[in-house]
Symmetry: C2
Subunit: 334 residues, 2 copies
């Protein structure tokens, strides 16, 4: 497949132009472009420029309001709420971040409840800055139904990812971010595009039969990771992002969506915990001891290692995307 | 195997007498017996009277202080801390419960940080009452190392369970409670006792080879559920219960433990979230809609269904334990 090389600055520029040419104001376009550039920088291709056509489809359809200005309020001493007004999640996340950090430091713990935004990205970009600010963070987001519940055969849950971030002694963060499904939706879409089979257990076809064909899984249902235990995580994520926030469940998000392939509207929950209110001053040192001991075993890595390795390289070496994707994005800019 | 029938009142009585005959005061014995009776009532054999010999071993060894009186303090506006002083987790949990509920209702969210207790039970008994009080709850506890990290071959994490509880419209709770390992430790111990094989993927022998022999897994290492994703959950649980609370990690708990088979000392984290501070008044109704839609799929059940079915039966029909276990407990009473 023909590839095109881009610097990270070119990634930002390309994403911003594509979004602004299709209805985004500068604040929304810049927030999404920052998110997308971080994904490309960290080698997360399925959340990088790959997402531009989906965003543009939904902006053109009027499903996403690219001009929306999120409104931040406090709905409890340790609850910050962002009303997204049908806009894009990255701007709402950025506007809620500092209030969340301040509330967590003041109260010991706080939550950021984001409503009525369109989330189409990874979860580590919004949890990593919290850990870099010294907080422990979790994030949850649901999505239209792609994943069968344990024992079932029809899509019910979104891939409903969850992320966890822990502050490191060097000011960085250990972050994991994983779908409740065995595979992320974007990974399956990329496997289909590139003609690769899926590993066994990733999904079932529309008749409920196991299959490794990505096209058949996209028409059928993905499966939770680890059987019913991953299904329990998917259910928790759905309850936390839908009902808890007065928002839609995966099934309701799907029913309300125009199915244009772009992100549906919905809720996101982010929790931030200040170690200072819990174990005193040595939480981070204790965490480092744990990581050091864990890495003594051969073959063991910390979550996020691959992202950090890419991050050390791409600011200098740039990134590559398929020429077909670059052409598509240029067409969308017009 | 010969079985003995007991009423739930007899379970409580037997547990209380065994604990009080081995160093527990009445408050501690009663709290543990309530927990154990709830497990037998709900058909969770591996957390019922099966646990008595392990508790007694550690009480006799002086590892657990059966007279300890937990001390409850507030270390942040929404953080309740219980110092357990080397006693048993159930009394610490019960003493922290009401302060946690009040803090969550006042602040929108709160945490209960339990330190220096010995946890040897399930997690649903401490999360279910929070959901019955109308709160969303999560709980995490770590344990001495039994589980290899993803990619590794040696025990590093405890089975590190996590629980989630959601309030139901009828005043009850939907609760799931699952180990980060493919199987709970108690299930493997019971498989060994009863001569059953384990399912593939549950663990490896001491040389790192996959095995279905429960004795070999108990000497080797258990494996996380769902591969590296379950391993990420185990890591999160370890960080939340150890470093965050100024407490020991799984590995440190193991190193400090006398390995008598009873529970090691460590931390437990419980989070409680008040839906009223988030989505307004319809969170529970939205949750019910989600459950109803989920159960429309044939073959799908809600987590905890088996426990609720047992709970409807055992108060009338009683429970059974192996005669050998009953004999052992009677011997421990002396």
């Amino acid at each position: 497949m023909d590839q095109v090389s881009l610097t990270l600055a070119e990634v930002t520029d390309l994403a911003t132009r594509a979004l602004m040419a299709n209805g985004c104001n500068e604040a929304n376009a810049a927030a999404v472009a920052r998110n997308m550039t971080a994904a490309e920088r960290d080698g997360c291709k399925s959340h990088g420029l790959f997402r531009v056509p989906g965003y543009v489809k939904s902006l053109r359809a009027g499903k996403i309001d690219g001009q929306a200005m999120p409104v931040v309020t406090h709905t409890g001493p340790c609850v910050v709420t962002v009303e997204g007004h049908g806009g894009l999640a990255p701007l709402a996340q950025e506007m809620g971040r500092q209030p969340l950090i301040e509330a967590a430091r003041a109260q010991g713990m706080a939550a950021l409840a984001i409503r009525r935004t369109h989330h189409y990205a990874a979860l580590w970009p919004e949890t990593e800055p919290l850990a870099e600010a010294g907080l422990v963070a979790m994030a949850f987001v649901n999505a239209p139904p792609y994943v069968a519940p344990a024992g079932g055969t029809k899509p019910f849950f979104g891939t409903n990812p969850m992320a966890f971030a822990w502050p490191r002694a060097d000011g960085g963060a250990m972050v994991w971010d994983q779908a409740s499904s065995m595979m992320a939706r974007g990974e399956i879409q990329i496997a289909k595009r590139d003609g690769h089979d899926l590993p066994p257990g990733a999904g079932i076809d529309k008749d409920g039969n196991p299959t490794t064909d990505p096209a058949a899984v996209l028409e059928g249902a993905q499966l939770p990771f680890g059987g019913y235990k991953g299904g329990a995580i998917a259910l928790m994520v759905d309850l936390l992002c839908g009902p808890l926030l007065g928002e839609v469940s995966s099934v309701e998000a799907g029913a309300a969506d125009n199915r244009d392939g772009g992100p549906a509207t919905g809720g996101e929950l982010i929790l931030a915990i200040d170690p200072a209110a819990f174990g005193g001053t040595d939480a981070i040192a204790r965490g480092e001891r744990l990581f050091t001991a864990m890495l003594e075993q051969e073959g063991v890595r910390l979550p996020g290692d691959r992202r950090h390795a890419a991050r050390a390289q791409t600011p200098v070496g740039g990134i590559e995307i398929p020429k077909s994707l670059a052409d598509t994005i240029h067409d969308l800019i017009g």
